[in-house]
Subunit: 334 residues, 2 copies
DNA sequence: CTGTTAGCGCTTTCAT
DNA sequence: ATGAAAGCGCTAACAG
C-alpha cells in the first residue's frame, strides 16, 4: 500500500540504486534514465521514507533543540533564528521545553540522542557535570546557545551578560545617579542572574560607589516580581533614584509600580533594563535598555552547528555577540 | 563502535528479542532475565536507536507542527500547550515555521510526512484545496489548530472568532458607544481577519447602528499599524468614541497613539482588543479584551491528535473553545 | 518465558 | 551509467 523505492524501480525498469541516485541528485545518471524515473515517481506518487534513509545513511537531517520555555518571548526569538537557519540548510528541529529543570534537561537530551539527531543546540541554566556526561555519551556535535559552561570547553554562542549589565549601570552612573537599586534574577542562574549581578557590582565599584545590599532585590524575571521589588525600593527611607533590572520584563513591572505610586519615570526614578524585548518600545515611557541580539544568537549557533556537523573547521568555537545600549526615555539625569 | 541490541544480547547471553522485550517493558520476561539484560545495557552503555525502531515498527513517536511564526507570542503559547501534552504522551514535536505562506506550508507538510511523523498539527491561514491534497497524500491523522477549513471536514480546535468580536463590540455598545471604529486584520485571513470583522458588523447590526466603512481600517496585526489606524480615527471630523481592535497588539498601539495625541483612554476614547496577550495587563490603562485560551488550544488539539493516532474514537472532532471577556480599565461608558 | 527469522525502505560499496 | 547485494538496528510474528 505504501509505495517504496522498489516499486518505483520496477515501474521505471531500473534498479533501486538508480532510483536512489536520482532522488539524491547524484549526477551519475543518464538524463533519459532520470526522466523515466521521475515519471515513475510521479505516476506512483512516491515519497521517500526519511526514516529508512536515516537508518541506512546514519543521518537524519534533524537537530535537537532544548529550550527552557518556548512561550517566553526571549527564547521564542532565539528559536526563530535557529529554525530559519536550520531550514536554510535543510534541517528540521525537534523542540523540547525543559523549564531549566536539570532532570528534565538530561532526560530530553537523551531522548534527542536516541532519535539520532545530527546535532544538538542546548539552551538552559547551568551546564553541570551531569550535562557534560550526557553530552559526551554521544558523538554528535553540540553547541550551547545563550548559555556557557564554566569550563569553557564546549562550543557556544552567547552575549556578555556581565558587560551588558555593566554598561546599563554605567549609563545610570554617568547620568549622575549614585543610589542605584538592582532587581536581579536568582544568583544561581549563571547568565541572566549571577553575571548581571556581577556587572552591577563592578560598575558601582568602578565609579567608587559603595555596594549596599539593601539596594538589591532578587526577582524571578517576571513582571510581578519587578513590581514588588520596586515597591520595596520606594519604601526605603533613602530610596534609589534609579533602578537597574536584570530583565526588561521586571523593568516594566518596576515602571508601573512607580507610576502606580504616583511617581514619575524618569522624573522621580529612572529605570533601565536588559534584553530589549518588543514590549520595551511599547510602554510609556519607552524603556531604555541594553539590547541582546536574540535572533542572531539562535541563527549564529545553528550556523555554527551546521559547520560542526559537516566537520568543517571553525575558527572560533566560542562566540560572544555584541550587545548595545538602546537609549529611550526611561532614564533621566539627576 | 555503536553498541546495538545485538551486542547487548550477546553480553547478556539472551536473544535480541528478549532485549527488545525488556527495553519495551514487555511483561513477558522473567525478572531474573530482565535484570541480566539491564546489567548488560548498563555495562555497555546501550542506547536504543529510535530510527531503527521507527523503521521496524512504523511509528516514530514524533508529530509535526506547522506554525506561522514561533516568535509570535500567541503562537508560542499554543506551541507550549502542544509540547506539554506531547511530552506527557511521550511524543516529540518537529516544529516548522511557515509565515502563513502557502507554498512554504505545503513544502513543510511534505517534509514532515517524509519524516514519517505519526500525526500532524496544522496552524495556518486558509486551508485550501492544495492543503487538503497534501494532507490526503498520507494517512496519518491531522488536526487543525487555531484554524478551520471552510468545508469543515477536518478535525480542528479553535475558538469562535466571530463570536469573540461580537462580544467585544457588544460590550462597547452596552456602554453607550455608537461611533465605534474597528482596526481589522486583512479580510483575506479567515479567522483573525474576516471572522472578527463579521462579528463587528453583526454587533452593530444587532444594535441597529448603521455600518460606516470610514470607521474601519485594515492593519497588519502589529503595534505600529494599530497606532496608525488610531491616528487616522482621531483626525476624523466625527471621531469614534471607542475602538475595537482585532488583536491586542493593535489595541495597545491604538492606546498609545491616543495618549500621544494628548487624549485619555478611556476618558476620551475607549479601546478594546481580542487575545489577552501578557502585555494586555502590563500596559496603562490595562486593556479590556476578549481572552483566547491559546495554551488550551494547543493542549486540546494535541490531546485530540493522540486519540486519533491511537485510533480511539473521538466524540467530537471539531472543538470550539470558549472565549471570555476580561474587563479591565480601557473601556468607559459614554 | 524465550529464541528464530523475516523484513521495515533505503544507501552504499563493489562490480560491470 | 547502472545493477546486485549487503546491511543499517530494530520489531514482530511464529515456534517452541
Amino acid at each position: 500500500m505504501t509505495v517504496t523505492i522498489y516499486d518505483v524501480a520496477r515501474e521505471a525498469g531500473v534498479s533501486m540504486a538508480t532510483v536512489s541516485r536520482v532522488v539524491n541528485n547524484n549526477p551519475n545518471v543518464k538524463p533519459q534514465t532520470r526522466k523515466k524515473v521521475y515519471e515513475a515517481i510521479e505516476r506512483l506518487g512516491y515519497r521517500p521514507n526519511a526514516v529508512a534513509r536515516g537508518l541506512a545513511s546514519k543521518k537524519t537531517t534533524t537537530v535537537g533543540v532544548v529550550i527552557p520555555d518556548i512561550a517566553n518571548a526571549i527564547f521564542a526569538e532565539v528559536a526563530r533564528g535557529i529554525e530559519d537557519i536550520a531550514n536554510m540548510y535543510h534541517y528540521n528541529i525537534i523542540l523540547c521545553n525543559s523549564d531549566k529543570r536539570k532532570e528534565k534537561e538530561i532526560r530530553v537530551i537523551n531522548t534527542l540522542l536516541e532519535k539520532q539527531v545530527d546535532g544538538l543546540l542546548f539552551m538552559g541554566g547551568a551546564v553541570t557535570d551531569d550535562h557534560l556526561q550526557a553530552f559526551s555519551s554521544s558523538n554528535v556535535p553540540i553547541v550551547l546557545c545563550a548559555t556557557t559552561d564554566e569550563k569553557g570547553t564546549m562550543p557556544s554562542v552567547d552575549i556578555d551578560h556581565e558587560g551588558a549589565a555593566y554598561d546599563a549601570v554605567s549609563r545610570l552612573i554617568s547620568e549622575g545617579h549614585r543610589r542605584i537599586g538592582m532587581i536581579s534574577g536568582t544568583l544561581q542562574d549563571p547568565a541572566n542572574g549571577f553575571a548581571r549581578y556581577q556587572g552591577y557590582k563592578r560598575a558601582l565599584e568602578t565609579a567608587g560607589i559603595a555596594f549596599d545590599e539593601r539596594y538589591v532585590r532578587i526577582g524571578n524575571y517576571k513582571y510581578e516580581s519587578g513590581m514588588e521589588a520596586a515597591q520595596y525600593f520606594l519604601e526605603l527611607e533613602e530610596r534609589p533614584t534609579a533602578i537597574f533590572a536584570a530583565t526588561d520584563e521586571m523593568a516594566i513591572g518596576a515602571i508601573h509600580a512607580i507610576q502606580d505610586a504616583g511617581l514619575s519615570v524618569p522624573g522621580d526614578v529612572s529605570v533601565i533594563g536588559v534584553d530589549n524585548i518588543r514590549m520595551a518600545s511599547m510602554v510609556r515611557p519607552q524603556l531604555t535598555t541594553v539590547a541582546q541580539p536574540m535572533y542572531d544568537i539562535g541563527a549564529v549557533s545553528m550556523r555554527l552547528l551546521t559547520k560542526l556537523m559537516k566537520k568543517e573547521s571553525v575558527e572560533q568555537a566560542k562566540v560572544v555577540l555584541p550587545h548595545e545600549l538602546i537609549v529611550r526615555r526611561s532614564v533621566a539625569s539627576v
